[in-house]
């Protein structure tokens, strides 16, 4: 946790106002921090469904350093935490006009949409001005965990109730196998309890000399 504050100092040294910090845990889970460095808010996300730019199904290409158009879903304006995240995303991902390292033309658009309480990111190349697009770049899903008031720390402003940590998920998955035996035993018990008591006594030898008439037998088959 203390290493996170070091990032603040590093950013101050380099004169950066925004920081995206990616950390990988257990070589399985990727977390992304998005922070406004001096003392602004920061947000921590879990990155899911990550597909990189080198996948051959992503056929688009764009100028390296061209300014992106940013596209947001209307859901971003409906809740306070989404609005804050939207403002952070705008300030982080938009390139200032006439930045020395930027290229002049507009040929790609970033899409941020909200679905299932997560933010879905897509990067499309603008093939034609009338709207035909090809997917370029990485695609990922951000699952918001917490929003902090300070940069990489501070009091929590928002905690996502729908978030389940990947450790908990794996735990539940493992336990599911253990549940099988328990639920089978319980199902058997419940059947026994539901079966009920026999209502009257019957003698099994009563059926021995019962003859079925041929007409009745044909009806059954």
């Amino acid at each position: 946790k203390d290493q996170l504050f070091v990032i603040n100092e590093m950013c101050e040294m380099r004169n950066c106002s925004k920081c995206i910090y990616l950390e990988a845990k257990k070589k399985q889970d990727l977390y992304m921090w998005l922070s406004n460095v001096p003392r602004g808010p920061s947000a921590k996300f879990l990155v899911e469904n990550l597909h990189t730019m080198s996948e051959l199904k992503m056929t688009g290409n764009c100028l390296k350093g061209s300014r992106p158009l940013l596209s947001f879903d209307q859901e971003f304006d409906k809740e306070a935490h989404w609005s804050l995240i939207k403002e952070l995303l705008i300030q982080t991902f938009s390139t200032p006009n006439h930045h020395p390292k930027s290229q002049p033309f507009f040929d790609h658009v970033y899409t941020f949409s909200i679905a299932d309480n997560r933010i879905w990111f897509r990067n499309y190349q603008i093939l034609e001005e009338d709207g035909s697009l090809a997917e370029i770049g990485p695609r990922f899903v951000l699952n918001p965990i917490r929003i902090f008031e300070g940069s990489f720390g501070g009091p929590t402003l928002f905690q996502n109730p729908h978030y389940v940590s990947p450790n908990d998920l794996r735990h539940l998955m493992r336990k599911r196998g253990a549940q099988k035996y328990m639920s089978r035993i319980q199902a058997k018990k419940s059947l026994e309890m539901r079966r009920g008591q026999p209502s009257y006594e019957t003698d099994p030898t009563d059926d021995v000399f019962v003859t079925i008439r041929p007409e009745d037998a044909e009806e059954d088959s």
Binding site: L63, S71, I90, Q159
Partner: protein, 296 residues
């Protein structure tokens, strides 16, 4: 027993669907007990959020930010209202994102044009691209590979269909021939038995066609001239050893002598002046096209 108690207690309180929902939401812990959401788990400091939003908000001109909020553009008939789209339906979800991006593009580009900012990269503007040329080449190859795979499978399908059709036609032709043969034999039998005095059935034989049209004559069944020459020269391993002997018969043999090679004047080979009647031997373009389509 433990199982009895746990079973009876939870069967009276929770239904199956509630349990399933709770598991999906991740609230279930081992033992099938429903964990109630603790009040400390959700922090939603809306006031604080709004406050910070106001502090960090920079009212930059649109040109610096280039952000557009849009709802999906096209009234695509697959795209039902947003609330109905399921996250797990990949196609609809991606379509929704695509339409959202399209709407943004359709809004932002005219706006940039109105500010007289060029948006389209000219053809001669070369700069470093996000993906290397090598990578793009591999992408193109993959696409081409997919195309060819599709075409190959289409061809195979067509061939299979053609074979079926061909087989049908073959069966029909065989049956027709058998029928004709049978009729011929019947007619011959009738004639022999004296029922018919005329021999008309011999006149209109179906097999009578011009010889040139009968492709399966013995001459056509020989291999072509080039093949024959090669067979003669190289067949049976060469036969070079006994091919040239200065015997009386080989000296008298004139079959390999062709006066046209060295004894005639040059320019005498060829067709010479084509006669005016020759054009008619080759059917015209329209006839040839018709024949071609009929053959298919």
């Amino acid at each position: 027993m433990d199982l009895d108690e746990s079973f009876s207690s939870e069967s009276s309180v929770d239904s199956d669907e509630e349990l399933q929902e709770a598991f999906a939401a991740g609230k279930l812990r081992p033992g099938l007990n429903l964990e109630l959401p603790a009040s400390s788990k959700t922090i939603n400091n809306t006031a604080g959020l709004n406050q910070t939003l106001l502090t960090i908000k920079k009212n930059l001109p649109w040109l610096e930010r280039l952000d557009v909020t849009s709802k999906p553009a096209t009234t695509h008939k697959d795209l039902i209202s947003q609330s109905e789209t399921d996250v797990h339906d990949d196609f609809k979800r991606e379509l929704r994102f695509y339409c959202q991006a399209q709407a943004t593009v359709l809004e932002a580009i005219p706006r940039l044009h109105s500010m007289s900012i060029p948006t389209k990269r000219p053809e001669d503007f070369f700069a470093q691209m996000a993906k290397s040329d090598d990578h793009m080449k591999r992408v193109r190859e993959k696409l081409v590979e997919k195309q060819t795979a599709i075409e190959r499978s289409e061809k195979a399908k067509k061939l299979r269909e053609l074979r079926k059709y061909g087989k049908k036609v073959q069966i029909e032709v065989i049956q027709k021939r058998q029928k004709e043969k049978k009729e011929m034999l019947d007619a011959v039998k009738k004639y022999r038995k004296g029922q018919k005095d005329k021999l008309d059935f011999l006149e209109n034989l179906p097999g009578e066609k011009k010889n040139s049209q009968n492709k399966k004559s013995a001459d056509n069944l020989r291999p072509n001239k080039k093949r024959e020459f090669k067979n003669k020269k190289f067949g049976f391993g060469g036969q070079k050893k006994r091919s040239k002997m200065n015997t009386k018969s080989s000296a008298l043999d004139m079959s390999e002598f062709n006066p046209n090679i060295n004894q005639k004047k040059p320019g005498k080979t060829g067709k010479g002046k084509p006669k005016p009647g020759n054009k008619n031997k080759r059917p015209g373009k329209a006839r040839r096209q018709k024949a071609k389509s009929r053959k298919k």
